[in-house]
Every structure is written in C-alpha cells, then in structure tokens.
C-alpha cells in the first residue's frame, strides 16, 4: 500500500497507527537481520507516537496524509535523544540534543519515526558497504548492494519496512539506491529542503529528499519538508506549492528531451527500459525529442573536485583519527586534501558557466529523461563494472548520470521503469528546471498511472 492509500484507511479508522507501527516493527525484527537497513530501531518511542497519532485522529485532529504513518530517516539526520552516527565510528556515541529540520517537519506532519537507517560511511560512497555497522543488503538480492549512500533508506522502503524514508544526495545518494532497490527517490532543487541538522558531506552539493514506493508519496513527503528555513544559509524563499499531482494528471504537450550522451556506456537492459519509458510518455501525448546538453563528463569532473575539496574540509577536525575511517572513505579524504584551492575555485567557476549553458536546454524542453544509473545493482564488493569492453570503477559508473544534477542543483526524480533480464530494478530519471518539482512529479505520476513500474519486492 502507498501512503495515500493507507492514510485513507487510517482516517476511516479501518486500521490504527499502532497496528501499522506494530506490523512494521515485526517486519523489521524479521528482515533487518538479513538486510541490515537499520542502525537503530526506536520501537518504544514509535509505539508511543503511534498512540498519540491514533488519539489525535480519533478526536478529529488530522494533520494530513502522513499522520500516523511509519517512516525512518537516514542516520545522518540529527534526532534529539537518539544516537546519530552518520555511519561513522567518529559519531558512534553521538546523541544530539536537537532534531534536524526535516525530522521536525515530519513530526509536525504526524509521521511516526521507527529509527535510523544504515548508510555508506559519512554518506561518502555509493555501496553502503559500511565497515563499522556492516553492509546494507539489497532486498531484491541480498548478495547485491542497495546502492548508496542512502542504502538503508532504499532497502527499508523496498522491503516494506517503512512507508517512506529520508535520504540525502550529494552525487546521487537518494537516486542511486532508489534505482537499485526499485523505489522512487526525489532529490529536490538545492535550497528547497532545509539541510539544517543533517551532518554535512559537501555543503554546496548536499540535498535532502525522500525515498518512497510511489511518485505521489514522494510528493506527499516533499509537501511536508519543503520550505524556507532561516537556520540553513542556502535555504530558498521560492514559493512552495502543493506538489501532489492530481489523479489522472496529464502530460499532453509536455516537451521531454533526451540526448545521445545519456545512453553512452549504459547496459542494454537499462537503455531498453528507459527508451520504453520515453515511448510510454509519447503515447500519453508528451513531445519527446532530442536535445543537446552540456558535456556530462565535464560536469562530473567539476562535481568531483568540489565534492572532494568540501568533504575533506568538513572532515578536517578528524584527520588525526585515520584509524577510524574505512579504507575507501579515507582514500577520498586524502585525495581531497591534495586538491589545490585554485582547482576548487575554478571548479566553482566552471559550475557557474555550465549552469548558464544548461539553462538553454529549458528553452527547448520542459524536462529531461534518462537512466538514473547505467547498470543494475552490483554485487557487494564488486569494484569494477564492464561496459563495451572497458572497465569502469563501480562508484564512478553508478553516479555518472546523477552527480551532474547536484552540480546544477536541479530537481531530479528516480522512479522504477522495469526489471532487468536478471530480475533487478532499473531507474528512470526525470529532471526539470530549478524549483519545478511539481512538473517532474507530474510527469512521473502520469507514467506511474499509465502502468510504468515494477512489482513489489518479493522479499
């Protein structure tokens, strides 16, 4: 069931929040030993919150579609009184005294948090093979990675442990696990959702957003968490709208662009699925047409220089604790320390130039469609992917089509668009101009209404 469906059941008193939470906690008890999606489960607090939600609903004080719904957040969102590790040994005993902005907003919307989700160490990677808390496993095939860094979020939503989860995305960390786990994942425009109280990886690239089982559910979450927050210096005052697409929404006449470069070094299964989704959109009346976009390789190089420099700066206070970092994260932090300041500044200059260039795309089309990742979930520990006779680092391949939109700060939705020949989920990415989340979600919802998607995860 989706959030919107179960919310109707709650409002009609056909099910209670306590029943939903108890069922979710039972399922977590059974499946978390296999998936390792949660670092911390806050069962007792969840049951108390569910009782409160039931009481409010019974007295007619409904707070909206999230009221009484079990959710969870990635373990980099500060939670008052609940340990927040960021998947790192550095913070293994850190108990914050306040909540992150999105945690506050979800609580205000009545959502019931069940705990803190496992992730790639410090959100700095895409495998979620965490050296301190153990690897998260993909519910579709537990020998495979769920992607990352919000791997626990993707696994928990796909395995039906929670109805929605919060993630963060610095180079694809919401969208990659969404694609690998067969969920929806939304990276909103930079500044749309407050970063306050989320442990940072790279300040100018970090975005916060939801992972859900449907496009409309992602919109429900965005309605709850979007908006200005003076505590986040990058927070935008751009007006917030109702992001939930209407039932039967149309995409007739919407101009959808694609470029040949979106399909370079992409697996055959993924290309077929994404081209199928584009054909689906065309059959619904969208105008699907080729466009020229700026160099994706340049955008990736710029993004990696910015990421490495900012992440190493953020972790500077901990640089003497080398033994407390996993090998892959330590190597990235070491690289960032050797990047000259001139390169960081020039990367930010290039970023401005590439953004200007990219804005021209929106004169020709309303949104873009292409794969979220070039391949399906790799096996845990698999470090190399083979494309067209060439080897590519799994981490770089997985983020090649997503990091671009962290650099450009644009809203990007990943939604399931099929299963590969080996039965693994594949993701379609829909990207729009800044602050056009409503359009991106409408396109996704129209495709979902028309049958694009995958069956529930069989775990």
């Amino acid at each position: 069931m989706t959030i919107l469906e179960v919310a109707q059941e709650l409002r009609a008193r056909r099910v209670s929040s306590v029943e939903l939470v108890t069922a979710a906690l039972d399922r977590i008890g059974r499946l978390n030993p296999k998936l390792n999606a949660f670092i911390t489960v806050t069962g007792e607090a969840a049951v108390r919150a569910a009782r409160q939600a039931d009481s409010e609903l019974a007295s007619g004080r409904a707070r909206g579609p999230l009221h009484g719904i079990p959710i969870a957040v990635k373990d980099l969102f500060l939670t008052r009184g609940v340990r927040t590790t960021s998947g790192s040994k550095l913070f293994e005993s850190y108990v914050p005294d306040h909540d992150a902005a999105v945690v506050e907003r979800l609580a205000a919307a009545g959502a019931v948090p069940l705990g803190k989700l496992n992730m790639h160490e410090l959100a700095y990677g895409v495998t979620s093979d965490n050296p301190h808390f153990g690897p998260v496993r993909n519910p579709w095939d537990t020998a495979r990675s769920p992607g990352g860094s919000s791997g626990g979020s993707g696994a928990a939503v796909a395995a039906n442990l929670v109805y929605a989860a919060m993630g963060s995305d610095t180079g694809g960390s919401i969208r990659v696990p969404a694609a690998f786990c067969g969920t929806v994942g939304l990276k909103p425009t930079y500044g749309r959702v407050s970063r306050y109280g989320a442990l940072p990886l790279a300040w100018s690239l970090d975005h916060m957003g939801p992972l859900t089982r449907s496009v409309r559910d992602a919109a429900v979450l965005l309605n709850a968490i979007a908006g200005y927050d003076r505590r986040d210096p990058a927070s935008s005052r751009h007006p917030v709208v109702d992001y939930v697409p209407d039932e039967g929404c149309s995409i007739r006449g919407v101009r959808i662009g694609f470029a040949a470069s979106f399909f370079e070094r992409v697996s055959e299964d993924v290309e077929l699925a994404v081209r199928g989704a584009m054909a689906h959109a065309a059959s619904l009346g969208a105008e699907v047409k080729p466009v020229t976009v700026p160099d994706l390789a340049a955008l990736n190089a710029v993004g990696r220089v910015i990421l490495m420099a900012e992440a190493s700066a953020a972790m500077e206070p901990y640089r003497e604790r080398r033994q407390d970092f996993g090998a892959d994260v330590l190597a990235l932090l070491d690289q960032g320390r050797l990047i000259p300041a001139t390169d960081y500044i020039n990367a930010q200059r290039l970023r401005r130039a590439l953004r200007r260039e990219f804005r021209k795309v929106w004169r020709e089309v309303d949104c873009l469609m292409f794969p979220t990742t070039p391949h399906t979930a790799p096996r845990i520990g698999e470090t190399t992917i083979h494309f067209e006779g060439q080897d590519e680092d799994t981490r770089l391949a997985a983020t090649r089509l997503s990091r671009v939109f962290n650099v450009l700060s644009l809203p990007a939705l990943s939604m399931p668009c099929g299963l590969s020949s080996s039965g693994l989920p594949m993701g379609l990415q829909i990207v729009g101009p800044a602050f056009e989340e409503a359009l991106v979600l409408r396109v996704g919802a129209a495709l979902e209404d028309a049958g694009l998607g995958i069956p529930p995860c069989p775990i």
């Binding site: 005052r237 990696r304 690289q335 320390r337 130039a353």
Partner: protein, 58 residues
Amino acid sequence: MKDWKGIAKAAAPDIPEADVHRILAPLDALEAAFRPLVKNLPPDLEPASGLDAEEEGE
C-alpha cells in the same frame, strides 16, 4: 601530471607514503579530466556558490 607525492609531502605529511601511493592513479585520472576544462576561463567568470536564485529567475 602533478607531482602528487611532492604535494603530499609538503601539504599533508601525515598521510603515510603507502596511502599516498594508493591515491595517485585516481588523482591523475581526475587531473586529466579536469585540467583541460580550466584552460581559457574568462576572468570575469566568478565562482558559483550553491544555487544563484537570481540567475534562476527566482
């Protein structure tokens, strides 16, 4: 390519030599991708920082 070992010795002497060796190839790869992009940047091109809301038409 840059002398990463020399840069590490000067700027980050606490990174053990074996760990420096481990990051040479990825640094070289990034340098190869990035260096050509910064040639001929116009001097009036300023760094971006986050999202420039004014430019985005906010």
